[in-house]
């Protein structure tokens, strides 16, 4: 338990790279919040990322690297900058400073290896289109400038819909789908992107228990195929069941590492502040209730 340090709690501006890397190889976590053993081929390496909104820092000096083939939960209270961090990584919003590398190369050259699932509410579900067409949009990135989705892409899209259990709804107008079904369509679209690294913004928000189960099963399958999935997550009661690693964010990265070492009462207290209460379970592992 002693082994994690939180780089920024004492001095937010300290440079994360000044830390002794590799001294404690058994620790997944170092001051860089290195979840990966080999930074060079890490699916996602973020270095000193700072994002400001109207001169206020929203995300400050965040550095971490992910290990391949794992499910990673990105946790933090409301307003901690979780969505902002994802968007800054993807270059959707400008960042003040910092560097993002995907599989060891600059982000721009690796777009096709990244799949993105925005928050469900971020799009207008009254848009005149059907479920299959939304999934097809996942193939646009690799079609290039002029090519239109053809037979192959439709086949892929149908297969992806099938994987999320939505094959029967291919022709359904998207406004006529339930919230959980819309979320599944979004996931199918991400699958159609055929990426290696996925960034998902609250895929479990507002879905029923059945859909939640379907989604986590899908994420497990993706992991088994060697894909890396970073998920913004809110429900602390499911973190231990769902994720291999967690990143704890509250404007700064508080901690990052394997769930069993990082998802601890002390670090959560630091992340969520006074907003949370702990219920001690029988297994001495904290069951947590987050103050919303």
């Amino acid at each position: 338990m002693k082994s994690f340090t939180t780089t920024h709690s004492s001095d937010p501006m300290s440079a994360p790279q000044s830390v002794d890397n590799g001294k404690q190889p058994q620790n997944k976590l170092q001051q860089h919040h290195k979840l990966s053993t080999n930074i060079e081929d890490s699916p996602l390496q973020v270095q000193g990322l700072t994002v400001t909104y109207q001169h206020q820092p929203v995300v400050q000096q965040v550095s971490f690297s992910l290990a391949e083939g794992r499910l990673i939960g990105l946790l933090g209270p409301n307003g901690a900058g979780k969505s902002t961090l994802l968007k800054a990584i993807l270059g959707l919003i400008p960042s003040l400073s910092g560097q993002v590398k995907v599989f060891g190369k600059p982000y721009e050259s690796q777009r096709r290896r990244i799949g993105y699932v925005p928050q469900r509410e971020s799009v207008d579900w009254d848009f005149p289109t059907d479920a299959l067409d939304v999934v097809l949009m996942g193939t646009y990135g690799r079609l290039g400038l002029f090519r239109r989705p053809g037979k192959n892409e439709r086949q892929t899209a149908l297969h992806c819909l099938d994987q999320v259990g939505m094959a029967d709804y291919a022709g359904r107008q998207i406004s006529q789908l339930s919230g959980g079904q819309q979320q599944r369509v979004f996931l199918a679209r991400a699958l159609a992107q055929q990426a290696d690294l996925y960034l998902m913004d609250e895929p479990f928000a507002g879905v029923d228990a059945l859909t939640e189960k379907a989604i986590i099963t899908l994420l497990e399958q993706m992991k088994q195929q060697g894909k890396t999935v970073l998920v913004v997550h809110h429900d602390l009661s499911t973190v231990q069941a769902y994720f291999d690693d967690v990143l704890l964010l509250n404007r700064q990265l508080i901690a990052g590492g394997a769930v069993e070492h990082t998802f601890t009462p002390e670090l959560l207290q630091q992340t969520y502040g006074g907003k949370m209460a702990f219920l001690q379970g029988n297994d001495q592992q904290g069951i947590l209730l987050a103050g919303k």
Binding site: I114, P128, T129, M137, Y140, G141
Partner: protein
């Protein structure tokens, strides 16, 4: 050729471009931006008039398109600096339009540009305003300008259909896929500006907005597919043009006014009767459920 033919052709070309672009404006919730552009292009037209010393179509097209893009850019800049979105639109389009009015009124003697015509259009005279090229009469200038605008709209929408669609539905994913979202935004705005200036003389600045928004809003109620919406929007626009022209002929009323009024009537009928979203059907279903 008869004047009816040219007037109808002008109206149909205008409805087609406006109908196609209007769908994307509505889906991106930018109906008011269409309003802003169609007004803000006025100073561009006036300046082009001053510089070219006459009704040079190419100069007007370029001047107006630049001003349209400038207005979109200014609106976005105000918005990102903390001014509310609807206020930014209101400020930019009224201010630019007023500048245009001043330029026109100051130079009323030098330039043959009638404010009434700019505002309300005079489609009845398209036949006599012809384009002469190398000494040959090529036919009405409006038809050429609108034809060119429609061609540009159709070609760009066909080439970049998937980009326009994705940037309208989910700009975040589009950007993540590497689609230059802002480029397509300005491309759409440029097309709206071009269509606005080309439509100016036929229906005028105020009514262009109607043709951009109303047929597209009607088509939105008719279908759940973007491709069909585009088609229906063009059909609704052309139907409004033909029926509106007929009504204007019968009652000897303003042609532009009649066309947009007809578009409005079509929308109201659709709003009441549409099988999916129609108000009457919804009421009837509710009643059946309650019974």
């Amino acid at each position: 050729m008869s004047s009816d033919f040219w007037i109808l052709l002008t109206a149909i070309l205008m409805s087609a471009s406006c109908g196609l672009l209007g769908c994307f404006l509505i889906l991106r919730k930018m109906a008011l931006i269409g309003d802003a552009i169609s007004h803000a292009v006025l100073p561009g037209i006036a300046i082009a008039f001053l510089f070219s010393g006459g009704r040079d179509s190419v100069a007007m097209m370029i001047g107006a398109t630049l001003l349209g893009l400038l207005s979109v850019f200014l609106i976005q800049w105000l918005r990102s600096s903390g001014v509310q979105s609807d206020a930014s639109i209101g400020i930019i389009f009224t201010a630019l339009f007023a500048v245009g009015v001043i330029i026109v009124s100051l130079n009323a003697r030098n330039i043959d540009l009638d404010l009434d015509c700019v505002l309300f259009g005079e489609i009845a005279y398209v036949q006599w305003d012809t384009w002469t090229w190398n000494g040959t009469d090529m036919g009405p200038r409006s038809v050429w300008m609108l034809g060119f605008a429609l061609m540009a709209v159709v070609i760009l929408l066909m080439l970049f259909y998937k980009q326009f669609k994705l940037t309208a539905f989910d700009p975040a994913l589009a950007a993540a896929c590497g689609i230059p979202v802002m480029l397509f935004h300005y491309m759409l705005m440029g097309l709206v500006s071009m269509t606005s200036v080309a439509s100016f003389e036929s229906v005028g600045a105020i009514l262009v907005v109607g043709m951009l928004i109303i047929p597209a809003a009607t088509a939105y109620l008719w279908t759940d597919r973007l491709g069909m919406m585009l088609l229906y929007s063009v059909v609704a626009g052309i139907a409004s043009s033909v029926l509106g022209y007929g009504a204007a002929y019968v009652w000897n009323a303003s042609i532009g006014g009649s066309i947009v009024t007809t578009a409005g009537v079509l929308f109201v009928l659709t709003f009441l009767l549409s099988p999916r979203h129609g108000l009457l059907l919804r009421k009837w279903r509710q009643r059946r459920l309650a019974a």
